[in-house]
Symmetry: D2
Subunit: 392 residues, 4 copies
């Protein structure tokens, strides 16, 4: 086992950890670890909510979650010799839950507090607890289903430069200003409330807390991409925007369906990640990897070969309005079609919704030019069910 460079104590909030992490993005959050290129090391992570969700049957913790607290991250990690313009090459060698904490949660956020992809249809909070059995997950809240997890880092990224941060804040502020009272909000702007900023204190804490970007969206540096395939064995090429790269990570998932549609979220867990880091000097320009990370998935993703696939198009399901090549709506329709089908197979709508958020389902943009409809598809592996779910 590689050295653990970042420890967490599950009984303490992130700001009271021996080495506190952070839950905002800002170039001035000090690095807490430094490593050389070529190093293997372990990082421990709390679940993204900092322990707000409990292993019980009561969804009130999901309903009342403090989203200003998310995502608590481990880092920043300084990679020696790294400069802006480099590519940081990160290998996800392995990921797992803590031995004494082999469970995770998924939930549906209430519309008033976070929402989710189908919040107009499922506006109430709900929760499913998942138990891990080696590579498999089951939930007492969704009987009849068992699948191999695809453990991954929901959130991993380098620190933004001040310039990049300013760009984020500007564009997101402009978006919010279009409909500032929308529920759920169009974006989450910087707020000092519940900010955790590592070792920063006093005026510097206050300044950074006011400026620092929230961790919810993925951005140019990676961040909360929630790509289920950043799993064991994958290699990620990150653009570097600040000296030392300042890598941070968290939001570990035992499994997730493409889209992470319930927002709360995948099968969320606390756990550890083994990493190897390296650097390609000047790699951003050399390879034109400027705007987003590039990655190579690992070789041990769960292998299913039998899928049932649901399609959706970009027509609003409530109003019947035709939208122009809107893949968001098309994927929503595909998910809703799948849920209606799974109801026939004995699941409640909420169960089916949470299943699509947790199981290794694939979400594809199948066509995106056939004006005016985009066609998206959701792929459900049939082997995860303890019954035959095909139409006969």
């Amino acid at each position: 086992m590689p050295d653990v460079l970042f420890h967490v104590d599950l009984n303490k909030p992130m700001d009271e950890q021996e080495i506190p992490g952070h839950n905002r993005w800002h170039p001035d959050i000090p690095a807490v670890i430094s490593v050389n290129p070529g190093t293997e090391f372990r990082v421990e992570c709390k679940d993204w909510t900092d322990g707000q969700i409990k292993n019980n049957n009561d969804p009130s913790d999901v309903r009342n979650v403090n989203l200003n607290r998310v995502h608590v991250l481990s880092g920043p990690i300084w990679i020696n010799g790294t400069e802006p313009g480099d590519l940081l090459v990160v290998d996800i060698l392995d990921i797992g839950p803590f031995p004494n904490s082999e469970w995770g949660f998924n939930g549906i956020f209430a519309r008033e507090n976070g929402g989710g992809f189908l919040t107009e249809h499922y506006p109430e909070a709900a929760k499913s607890i998942w138990d891990f059995h080696g590579i498999y997950a089951t939930s007492r809240h969704i009987p009849g289903v068992k699948f191999a997890g695809i453990p991954h880092t929901g959130l991993i990224g380098t620190a933004p430069s001040q310039t990049l941060l300013d760009k984020w804040n500007k564009r997101e502020k402009e978006l919010v200003s279009k409909d500032p009272d929308r529920v759920p909000g169009l974006a989450n702007l910087p707020t000092p409330d519940s900010a955790v900023l590592g070792s920063l204190k006093g005026a510097e804490f206050d300044r950074v807390a006011r400026e620092a970007a929230r961790t919810i969206p993925p951005r140019e540096h990676g961040g909360n991409c929630d790509i289920k395939n950043l799993s064991k064995g994958s290699r990620i090429y990150f653009p570097v925007f600040v000296e030392g790269a300042k890598l941070s990570l968290g939001d570990l998932h035992f499994s997730q369906g493409d889209g992470e549609i319930t927002f709360c979220g995948a099968i969320e867990m606390a756990g550890w990640v083994d990493l190897h880091v390296d650097v390609i000097k000047g790699g951003m320009a050399k390879y034109n990897i400027i705007d987003n990370p590039v990655f190579k998935p690992g070789p041990v993703e769960p292998q299913y070969s039998d899928y049932l696939v649901f399609e959706g198009i970009s027509v609003d399901e409530t109003t019947g309005e035709q939208h122009y090549l809107d893949a968001h709506i098309a994927y929503r329709r595909a998910c809703l079609n799948a849920i209606e089908y799974l109801k026939i197979m004995g699941f409640t709508g909420e169960q089916a919704y949470m299943l699509l958020g947790t199981a290794p389902v694939e979400g594809r943009i199948s066509s995106i030019v056939d004006v005016p409809n985009a066609c998206c598809t959701i792929w459900i592996p049939t082997a995860i069910f303890d019954r035959d779910i095909l139409p006969r």
Copy 2:
């Protein structure tokens, strides 16, 4: 070989075929074949443009294409005993090009005439011709690339009822009215120009031609889904809206990347499809398959295990504007990121664009709830290149 129930002569336009097909959707286009459930049969198809694109190096045919002529379809096929409310079960047993026509085309439509997913970046017409070598395709216009095709029916669907047709026309008209002069247009409304309607003639032709929906978008009945996985061995469950189901198909592709991003299109070909049809009586209500087909992919898709993956988020690449969970923009950014990378590997932008439209690349909605950014990914199999394309 099963009986050929629908023949085409590649030297004649669709309206001059012995049994003419059609290029519009309308319940009153008469069926030209009838089969019993349980039958296997072969259908021949022209390429979607009715032969407008030639096997040469000149893209002027792509630039000047008559899009009112598309998609020329084979059918409608009446399936005996089928009624509205049933599910039509279609097995795609096999697909292939004609023995004397083993080539296909891909192109970029000019912005003024069709456009494409990246039309703001690549507004000029371009063309690539692909040669088939058994299961493989290569193009003299994109050297250094060879891949196994994933032949599929780009377009297959049942006929709409009059009610459903009226709904389509209404919603698409409303969309167009929002920006009627947009180039490319927001949708393609009914037009008698270049309509082909099987055996209809005279006043009936005129009435139907005025009402009939264009074939460009996928809709509730399936249609032009351009799902690359409707390949050999797949089974599709279609909702049935009219007596006899009236199945039609065309737009055969030798291969396509998810999204069919160049619009013109995949590797487009003329060829044949072997089908088996069956019926689940009352299946729409029994299985809640109401709004779109459901399918089960076949077992012989090309197997690649090594991918390089590019990410994109929903920030406009030109204006820097932040959009709200817009998977269309996120996928466009992912495609553009891939193209910039492929330029480093020695391809022109146009070549890379056409490659993403033709090779078996996967497009995924990786996250769709992390406000305000959607994260989409495009997966490129590394084995299709004759060189190592990984960053080193």
Copy 3:
């Protein structure tokens, strides 16, 4: 479609074809085609028995088959510029049955006439006819099973040099001499009976017929390897022993299980193969490919992910005698274990035996050093059955 360089007429025996093929290996059988490296071309093939087995329910043709007639091959093909010591690079671009002959046969040879892997247990002749439905095969003689085929060339190889041929004849003669009266025989020695030798005539025919090796076993030049993975898209590197390489092929299979255990055989069919050939000059020494071909499988083999696996060890099932690391016996025991299990699932022993010979089952040497037992395994894809075959 590439040019057809070798035609067959299914209504004529191989020695009456316009261009007659051959059914023996000898360097002096004249080439009938010549091609340049880089050429793509089509070769048509009769089934391996030269049409002796009919599409009916009567196994007497299997029982009375003339095995001196097998395998009728198409070729030899001269590849211009090829010399001993080169590697001949053969791409299997595509394979298929003839459009008007979409069926194949499998059978169990009687112990007295050919036998098979389990001939002590199933000594009587039996036959199953398989119908092709695009990529799928079913048999009226084994209901409840359907699978995607893995079409391949059971037999493909270069011509031996006279030195190599002499070596073959010597070693096989020595083997037979150990038990000359054994039934089935230990090997099949040269015999002029039913020999087909292309255009050879008179004394030259007689000489070659006396010397030429039978086609039944695989040898250093490839030959009757019956490797199910020499399917669409695979590339084979053959050692070249004579000028021109003199490639021949035949024994097409629509599908086969590893081992081809029934001997008669896989799903045997007549059909066509599209080939591309190239040469690596001096490749045998350059790559140490001296004794047997090397190959790279293609990317479109049927993908199954769920298997039920049966083990066997090298203890004789009848006598209980312990053998030393005998993988032959271990695989036989694995097959017998699978058959006993499939009997519980409703198949007869003969049906199960023929199923293992035809479906894409895998046979593995799992351990070969744990004295005194080898452990072999047979992998059966569960998705080929129309019922759940797992123990519950």
Copy 4:
């Protein structure tokens, strides 16, 4: 993490553990744990040699290994309510090395002390040490190679009944008697030397030690099958021969090639296994699973799609003698062909031999009826090399 029911201390030999395990098979070795069907639990295991091989560069420990000491097993585990005739259903939920012992060994046994599959060619002892990097393994002794492991239980089985044990001893004694002085021996007969028999003591120890079968071969109860696919997520159905089933396991491998050809062995490691057990009452007769276990592989085996495949036939490589359908020789020839090729790619023969024993290569019985040659194939994933190894 499930409860650890069997602990090991890596610093103590197996007979000095708090709960001692065993290294022989006998029905009278007392169970040390009892669990109910439906239980999940963890078992810790020492490496198969009981710690004789060290993490260094000196192969003398391999040369001088005491093979009477192997395999040290954890168990027996009593499953409550289990009786002869039942099937014991064992799920391998997860497997891993100990956190402070993330390395393993492979070696070539000297011909005089154990030998191996290619002992005539590589008679000297050799050793390679492998380091684990999350899911990957590399060896400082075989540079240029890195692969995802396929961790598995090399040895797992139920206890034999006295009747079954007597049968084993009888047949193996008869085998040895055919050539009692052979080096390496034809089988390993019972010996009290270095026997570890759990808590047995005194006269009972002596009696059992004289009768107990060695653990080296796989047999009817499973045992040392060395099937690389008994990996994470697999389910095994074991015949039960004694009350309580008495399950034992050990010989953990981080990775192995089919055949485990070096005998010492795979990548051998100490570690832990998480198990779930259940029972199908009367399952042996109900499912005809009498003679060997049956299993269903798990869904997270390493996925490689690109292989280079070497063939071998049953002609002795030294004498040129033709053998009759001998899959042992055919696989040996395939391995030797692969090794000769890998020498061209820059490996020594010993390195290539150890690579085939450790990497996830597949060994297949491709044809077994084409008298007189069997054809076996060895499949090497090309992605495990840091260079292109294809012939060009």
